[in-house]
């Protein structure tokens, strides 16, 4: 197609135009950083050029202008991704530079945090980057590699010290030891309840598939559990678990109490059952009836038919259920902090209690990153397995 025959609307990228205009408007109208004299007073807004050293500020603006131009006019997905990543890098470095510039030497009380303009532009560039990656249609392995690359860059950047004067990193510095502990605990709570749910849910799903009479009852009961709000379920579980701990000393010594990790794990386990059981049933139903008939006809025992034919063919659907559960659990473990279950939610609720938004972010950002990474990895896994066509 020649330039002349292109429809007029195709000369601008629609999503890019929206993102570009939003980003420019945010930079022009909103503050780039907030400077607070201490942790809890309201911040004083500062624009990018007011906050960052002149060189860093203009360089960042130039990179952002380039990214906005690419968003509007460039259609090559690789170039768009490159421009978006350049913009994100420039934005983050400018924020770090602003933190350094605005912090008086040796002052550990002043707080420099990202303002609305920073977040809006970051979201716009993030959307531009993910949109470009989607357009490049990378295979599953490549997507996981991209993810690993991003994580490595992020860890290196945070360790480099360039961002140490930002308020979130200040909170991290104060809580470093607790942070690793709660992060690990968060992952263990999410993965542990998933593991338990898989151990119980797979046999339950197989039973539901084999015995249609119990299917409705079990799936119905699990559906009802899903509708109970997490915090209410924690509350409901406190009484019986507390009573159990009181009645059986061994249970108490194993850490089973009305509050703490036990009700959190039990609640997450119950929430996890529905996706795993329902997807196991769905996956088994989708297995070719002829393949199963042939397997039986050739002399496989019922166990062999299940392990060699039905389960392998149902696995992609089951793993889709595992993905739902894992992402859901990573989010829900947050609430477990309220009943003493620990995890990154500890920072979130502590921050809310102290009106210290930086502490909330210290908990929330890693939770989002964890959920996103889990989704990318498991989606890739499902895609690899689903290459076996039914």
């Amino acid at each position: 197609m020649t330039e002349a025959t292109l429809p007029r609307t195709a000369r601008f990228d629609r999503l890019g135009t929206l993102l570009g205009v939003t980003g420019v408007a945010a930079l022009a109208g909103l503050s780039f950083v907030l400077v607070k004299a201490n942790r809890i007073v309201p911040g004083i807004p500062r624009s990018l050029l007011e906050a960052a050293p002149p060189l860093a500020g203009w360089a960042c603006l130039a990179c952002l202008a380039l990214a906005a131009t690419a968003a509007l006019f460039v259609f090559n997905a690789r170039l768009r991704l490159g421009a978006a990543l350049l913009g994100i890098g420039a934005l983050l470095l400018a924020l770090g530079a602003a933190g350094d510039a605005l912090t008086p030497l040796g002052n550990r009380v002043v707080r420099i945090s990202a303002g609305p303009a920073f977040w809006v532009v970051l979201v716009c560039l993030g959307l531009m980057a993910t949109d470009a990656i989607t357009r490049m249609r990378p295979g599953p392995a490549r997507r996981v590699l991209w993810l690993a690359g991003f994580i490595a860059v992020a860890v290196l950047a945070l360790k480099s010290g360039r961002f140490d004067h930002l308020s979130v990193m200040r909170e991290y510095a104060v809580n470093a030891e607790r942070f690793s502990r709660e992060l690990l605990r968060h992952v263990l709570l999410a993965a542990g309840s998933l593991g338990a749910a898989a151990l119980a849910g797979l046999p339950l799903g197989i039973a539901c598939y084999r015995v249609p009479r119990i299917r409705e009852a079990i799936l119905g009961a699990l559906n009802v559990i899903q509708t109970i709000p997490a915090i209410a379920l924690f509350g409901i579980l406190m009484a019986p678990l507390g009573a159990l701990a009181a009645a059986v000393p061994l249970a108490g010594r194993l850490g089973i109490r009305g509050i703490g990790a036990a009700p959190a794990v039990v609640a997450l386990f119950l929430y996890s059952l529905l996706p795993i059981v329902a997807n196991t049933v769905q996956g088994l139903r989708r297995v070719s009836r002829q393949a199963v008939e042939a397997a039986r006809g050739m002399g496989m025992t019922p166990g062999q038919v299940l392990l060699r034919v039905e389960m392998p063919l149902a696995l992609p659907v089951i793993v889709t259920g595992v993905r739902v559960v894992l992402v859901q659990n990573i989010g829900m473990v947050t609430v477990a902090a309220l009943i003493g279950g620990g995890g990154l939610g500890t920072f979130v609720f502590q921050g809310i209690g102290q009106t210290a938004i930086d502490l909330v972010l210290l908990g929330a950002i890693p939770i989002v990153a964890l959920a996103f990474s889990a989704a990318v990895v498991l989606d890739a896994l499902v895609e690899v397995m689903d290459r076996v066509k039914q």
Binding site: A294, A295, G297, M300, P312
Partner: protein
């Protein structure tokens, strides 16, 4: 030899197979034919106990099939179904090696057998052994399905509408392959179909079923000339029964001595084809020749027509 004695199947008070008895000889192809719901598939599936009989019994080589666990019995009996039922997550070689693997054959023996079977079914092992089923055409999938059923050298092969999903040309090829397999391996084949042409073409014996009962079990020609029941006559087709009868005899079998005149007809062609050729050419006699062209005798129009009448 398979002996079916008084075999019945009742589901919730409905009799699906009703006291069927029949003897299936070794090295023959027996076709069970009937409308849908006639009980033909259920009868077949009771032979390898995919369906457990309500009454009666099945003997294979004089041994009651209930003497061993059903899954062990099935490993000794080949089983092929409509739409092939290949395992979509296993390669062609793994699919074919399923039963040998269940029987604990060594890897080398399985591989040799897989390659042999692929060659028998005109599939190059190098190109197809590691292919996935979805990469094959419908006809190739069907061939792999039959190869898989034959992998452990079963004496008996059960086939449930194996060619039902194939288009006519591939179907005709698959039928020729099956006749070749019986000649080559001496397998006793029991095949279920609703297609009378297929039954007549493949069957040494044809069993006609309706409403769970075995109406007639006989050589194809006898079904045409002496139908035991009006339903059998309807199934075999009143309109073209003379032509059907002609298609059961080859020109070679019917050839008269002496060299005749007229168009040449190969000895393996059916009398139906020979008649068609005479009508087409406007001739009243034909020479019968072998595939290599040597004369085998001759046929006259009268002689052909005599074969189309009940004698």
């Amino acid at each position: 030899m398979i002996t079916v004695e008084n075999l019945s199947k009742v589901y919730d008070g409905t009799t699906v197979v009703d006291a069927v008895s029949m003897v299936i000889e070794k090295n023959t192809t027996t076709v069970i034919v009937g409308t849908s719901g006639s009980g033909k598939s259920t009868l077949l599936r009771m032979i390898n106990r995919l369906v457990e009989p309500t009454g009666g019994r099945v003997l294979i080589e004089g041994r009651d099939t209930r003497e061993e666990p059903a899954h062990l019995l099935r490993r000794r009996i080949g089983y092929a179904i409509q739409g092939h039922g290949l395992f979509p997550h296993r390669t062609v070689a793994e699919n074919i090696g399923t039963v040998p693997q269940l029987l604990g054959w060594s890897a080398a023996r399985i591989q040799a057998r897989v390659e042999e079977l692929l060659q028998v079914f005109q599939l190059d092992p190098k190109a197809y052994a590691d292919a996935m089923p979805h990469e094959l055409s419908g006809g190739q999938q069907q061939r792999v399905g039959v190869a898989r059923a034959l992998a452990a050298e079963p004496a008996v092969l059960l086939m449930d509408e194996p060619f039902g999903a194939l288009d006519p040309i591939i179907r005709a090829k698959a039928q020729e392959d099956l006749l070749e397999i019986r000649r080559r391996f001496g397998t006793t084949i029991v095949l279920v179909t609703h297609d009378m042409d297929e039954a007549f073409h493949l069957g040494d014996r044809v069993a006609v079923m309706s409403g769970g009962r075995l109406l007639q079990y006989d050589r194809p020609a006898r079904l045409l000339t002496q139908p035991a029941d009006p339903f059998v006559a309807r199934m075999t087709g009143m309109g073209d029964r003379a032509m059907r009868l002609l298609s059961l005899t080859t020109a070679g079998e019917a050839a008269l001595p002496g060299r005749g005149s007229g168009p040449a007809v190969t000895a393996s062609a059916s009398l139906r084809e020979a008649l068609s050729e005479l009508v087409w050419q406007g001739a009243d006699s034909a020479q019968v020749v072998d595939a290599d062209g040597t004369a085998r005798g001759h046929l006259t129009l009268d002689a052909i027509l005599r074969h189309g009448r009940p004698s």
